[in-house]
């Protein structure tokens, strides 16, 4: 009917400059407001203390002890000597460096050049302060020692010319050239054991080594000895904080703070050496463990406290019953952990990796909800507190998200939707039932599968039992670019792939498909050959004994996390640009071969000219072609074929850690970089413009609303991946009122009923974003969802800002007017 429509209530949308200003005052107590203010106001800076101590240890001991022991000695020496920080108001103690917002360096992995140091200091966005003293130390001490020793050097030297060519033109990226293997999360162990308990286990394992029958017994002993040293290392850190807190308490004149310091000291007398006894100690235990994992090496995605609500609930219930904890205190302590995570910016990167991921976010990811290991609903009182904390703190770090299973109560889902509707990108929603299917398919036990979660952006893992290592992004649309130019890269003017024929000579879509398939398989092979060498280099040169303590079954096997010690060992290659590639192939199939609207030669000519002067073809491929994201089987079936080819060619191939390769479909921000290295593509995308992100449709291609997008995305077999990423942007009006929440919840449940893996929302109108681009100072606190994480809009470069603005905005009413 032709009716008049309503004016929507959008008062919940708080992304106005006035409201954002108030974000400086977030937190459930005055204490948290003060701590948060310091955390957010402090300029991130480089911290050289770790590198300095490490270099001293290496100079003294390298060659005289085994590699695992040497690695452990570095951590022990750092924790014995590092400058301690215990700030006013703090209840959870410990920093990665000397003070908040420190980013220690890891020259053993990648040694920054002096030029790198200048770049990180001078960059306009996401910069890190470097002092003159830092520069001198780097130049005189660090560089001379590490420049040829760093893993990055070994690794790049070990790669073939073919690999280097592909890498340089942006066919793929390599995760391990700057950061250690990670993407992992803790299980429940360190909430029920202390590091002295671990040490006893380790010593027992050493006793049980069978030197008569096990040829690896000596290697195992070295690894286990290293783990034992790391247990000492973290206990020393705890002891030092105990002493410091007591010392400060003795001098403190404020009776309340004095009591707090005494309690901090008491906590540090228990953890990390012994298992935590209280809710507070459990959080402190996690934080010490986090410091151990993220200072031993710089693993990707930092570390994650596992299923925090599951782990905390026994402590919470016990303390509440004893009257020693109430909800305000429980929330305040959670918020202290949030501050700690925000205090820890990502390690500073260089080169291409810097380009592909310009962010302070270190991807520590907290999942709430989901299932318990017995299969019953996992939502508890702490789950709701975590949602309150998330809403209260409104921080892009940690990346806090919810797991939704079919058993999750509607109340929890709707509370999460309420927060998502506020428009700053958190929480994202993960599908527990689908995660479990993924893990079962990849060979995990049902209990380990239920103890799982998503870390980083959307990467599924069995938490505490799996080393699931992402190895890099692969540029799928650029494989088509190679196929259209006979293996030649038209952007970099270089033969990159095999000769598969000139596009103009393809007589049918099948011939084109064969060429594309050949290029794709070739690139995957080049990437994988490199991966296997890199895995070996890490296994031998860069063991991670501390992370190995926390990951079952490294102690039992006497093997390192990086060498196959975990119960499960998976490697991933992340496919990027599925939306773009589907639309490109659809554009060719539909226009060139089915409808014969123009020839391949005409299309190639148009691409060469970036569609300038070829407006008719541009219009046809851009606006008159079936596109992925509209629940249209023509385009969606192409997506399925490409996805299956990519997945089948990778899945099941062996890695060197005794596990297998699988695929993820997520980009972080790499779709921007991958687009930048490409000429115009057959779907009308212009040269250098970003590719589609995650499994979302190409920007502007989806014109039938969110249900059609979700239907298209569901045609991918998510269960055979280790994670997919779907972004949806809504206008505030589309989610207004109780009904808006109910519909959003139903949309999520529907996607998850169809085995969708993950969905996240940006709820913000286009005008606001455009305004924020023009007046960044007035939108300092504006956080948007980027890929599997959120970031401050002002910290994104203009290309990525534009990309987020252009993502299709879903705003639908009954008659196209509401």
């Amino acid at each position: 009917m032709a009716n008049a429509a309503n004016q929507q209530d959008t008062s919940f949308n708080v992304n106005t400059p006035e409201r954002l200003l108030k974000d400086n005052e977030r937190g459930c107590t005055e204490r948290i407001k003060r701590l948060r203010r310091i955390s957010h106001a402090t300029q991130p800076h480089i911290d050289m203390e770790r590198a300095k101590i490490e270099t001293e240890v290496y100079k003294q001991y390298e060659g005289s002890v085994s590699i695992p022991v040497l690695r452990a000695m570095v951590l022990k020496e750092y924790f014995s000597k590092k400058t301690l920080y215990l700030g006013d108001d703090e209840l959870i103690v410990g920093e990665k460096g000397k003070d908040p917002q420190c980013s220690p360096t890891f020259p053993e992995l990648c040694c920054h050049t002096i030029e790198d140091m200048h770049i990180m200091n001078d960059r306009k966005l996401v910069n890190f302060t470097v002092t003159q003293e830092d520069l001198e130390l780097q130049e005189k001490v660090i560089i001379p020692y590490w420049k040829d020793r760093a893993v990055r050097e070994h690794l790049l030297k070990a790669m073939t010319q073919e690999w280097r060519d592909c890498y340089e033109v942006g066919m793929f990226t390599e995760f391990m050239e700057q950061r250690g293997p990670g993407h992992t999360a803790g299980g429940k162990n360190f909430y029920i054991k202390g590091y002295l308990d671990y040490k006893a286990e380790i010593e027992e394992a050493i006793q049980n080594l069978d030197y008569f029958n096990d040829p690896d017994a000596y290697d195992k002993e070295q690894e286990l000895r290293a783990m034992a040293i790391d247990c000492d290392a973290v206990c020393i850190l705890g002891q030092r904080y105990h002493d410091l807190a007591l010392e400060m308490a003795a001098k403190c004149e404020d009776p309340q703070r004095k009591a707090e310091l005494e309690q901090i000291a008491a906590n540090c007398a228990v953890v990390p050496a012994h298992k935590p006894e209280t809710y507070w100690q459990a959080l402190q235990m996690y934080w010490f463990t986090h410091l151990g994992v993220t200072l031993e090496l710089n693993p990707w995605d930092a570390f994650t406290p596992g299923r925090l609500d599951q782990h905390l609930i026994p402590f919470y219930e016990k303390d509440i019953a004893a009257g020693t904890l109430d909800d305000t205190r429980a929330l305040e302590l959670l918020e202290c952990l949030w501050v700690k995570l925000f205090n820890s910016p990502a390690p500073v990167k260089v080169g291409v990796t810097l380009k592909e991921s310009g962010t302070y976010v270190d991807f520590a990811n907290i999942n709430s909800g989901g299932l318990k290991e017995d299969g019953s609903d996992g939502v508890n009182a702490v789950s709701y507190l975590i949602l309150d904390c998330m809403e209260d703190m409104r921080q892009n770090q940690p990346n806090s998200n919810v797991q939704i299973s079919k058993k999750t109560p509607e109340k929890f889902l709707r509370r999460a939707c309420e927060i998502a509707r506020q428009g700053w990108g958190q929480p994202a929603f993960y599908n527990t039932d689908e995660l479990i299917q993924e893990l079962l398919l990849a060979g995990k036990s049902i209990v380990d599968a239920r103890n799982s979660g998503c870390s980083g952006c959307v990467e599924t893992g069995a938490w505490g039992t799996e080393a699931y290592i992402l190895t890099g992004y692969l540029n799928i649309p650029k494989c088509l670019e190679l196929a259209l130019y006979d293996g030649y890269d038209p952007m970099f003017k270089k033969q990159i792939g095999p000769h598969t024929g000139k596009a103009e000579d393809f007589k049918s879509y099948d011939e084109l498909w064969t060429a594309f398939k050949t290029q794709l398989e070739h690139i995957i092979d080049v990437k994988m050959r490199g991966n296997l060498v890199i895995e070996k280099i890490y296994a031998e040169m860069m063991p991670a004994p501390f992370l190995s303590i926390c990951t079952d079954d490294c102690i039992k096997k006497g093997k390192d996390y990086n060498a196959g010690g975990a119960r499960y060992n998976t490697s991933y290659i992340q496919g990027v640009g599925i939306g773009t590639i589907s639309d490109c192939l659809s554009a060719i199939k539909y226009n060139v071969f089915d409808e014969k609207k123009f020839t391949m030669a005409e299309l190639i000519a148009a691409m060469n000219d970036d569609f300038k002067g070829h407006e008719i073809i541009h219009n046809l491929v851009k606006n008159k072609t079936p596109k992925y994201g509209n629940d249209d089987d023509y385009a969606d079936s192409i997506m399925q074929t490409v996805f299956n080819e990519y997945k089948d060619y990778i899945t099941g191939r062996p890695n060197i850690r005794g596990g297998q390769y699988h695929v993820d479909m997520l980009p972080t921000t790499c779709h921007v970089y991958f687009g930048d290295v490409m000429i115009a593509s057959p779907n009308g995308r212009l040269a250098h413009m970003p590719l589609s992100e995650g499994i979302s449709p190409e920007k502007g291609a989806d014109i039938n609303g969110p249900t059609a997008v979700i239907k298209s995305c569901s045609k991918m077999d998510h269960c055979s991946t280790g994670g997919t990423l779907l972004n949806q942007k809504f206008t505030p009006s589309a989610l207004a009122g109780e009904e808006g929440i109910a519909n959003l919840a139903a949309l999520i449940r529907s996607y998850f009923a169809m085995d969708g893996h993950h969905v996240q929302f940006n709820v913000i109108d286009r005008e606001t974003l455009i305004d924020a681009q023009k007046r960044p100072d007035e939108y300092k606190e504006l956080i948007v969802r980027v890929a599997g994480y959120s970031d401050y809009f002002r910290n994104l470069d203009s290309k990525l800002q534009g990309e987020i603005i252009e993502r299709t905005e879903q705003s639908f009413g009954g008659c196209g007017c509401c």
Partner: protein, 305 residues
Amino acid sequence: METPLVFNIQKYSIHDGDGIRTTIFFKGCPLRCQWCHNPESQRFEKELILHRHKCTACGMCVKKCPNGANEIADGKLVFHRDRCTACGRCIDWCMTETREIAGKEYTVDELLKEAKKDLPFYEQSGGGVTLSGGEVMAVHDMDFVAELCRRLKREGISVFIDTSGFAPYEHFERVLPYVDAFLYDIKSIDPDEHRADVGVDNTLILANLIRLARDGAKLYLRLPIVEGKNDETEHIVQLMDFLRENHIEPFRINLLPYHDIGKGKYAGLDRPYDEESMRVPPKERMEELKTMFEAHGFHNIKIGG
């Protein structure tokens, strides 16, 4: 008989009934509401909508039109609507998305297929399909509509019908067994005002409403509120009296404030739009009307769809 035309299938429709719905808009309406924001819904025939502001006068449509409906004069497009048969041949070749055809034939099977695409969403949200218009109850081929309703119902899909009520009651009787609820419009209780604003008498509309209520139909009343046209307190009070006297107990009443978003479409169809006489009712007035209904014992009053 003529197959009814559909001018839009709206997915994720969240303001036309419960939950997440797909709304199928049928083309053609016997009413001519002055505030109608979907003028392309009014005529029963296909027609071409021209988004003139997008046109760059490139001339592609001139080449593609078999009837000479387009010409370029002084660097501008001149469109001869009288020559246009809405064949759509120009659409694919228009470079700037200036052109759009309103009205497309579908079979019942095809509509069913489209409607079933979003089944998972209906199931999770308590949604379904809404048939709207134009005026779906006034299409020439009621067999088509009744068959569509019957088959939707058989698929377990909830069916809502959005109607002005201006159609023979026999049409309603044919779909009653399959329809879960009617979104029923009342434009004005006053016959003179109704004739002046809408172009037809409201006797049939009110009589049908009474009969639907007696036949046990679930009713969502929808009242467009246009300042300067139908928002006088006196008429609202009369309407409430009418509902009570006739024992009509709507499940919900939606008060829909007028807006002028459809204005541009009139130009695209070369039709006049009388914007002078209509105004958007202030928020306070809408709240006042809502309170008025509540004071008279009506529940579940909502401003907006």
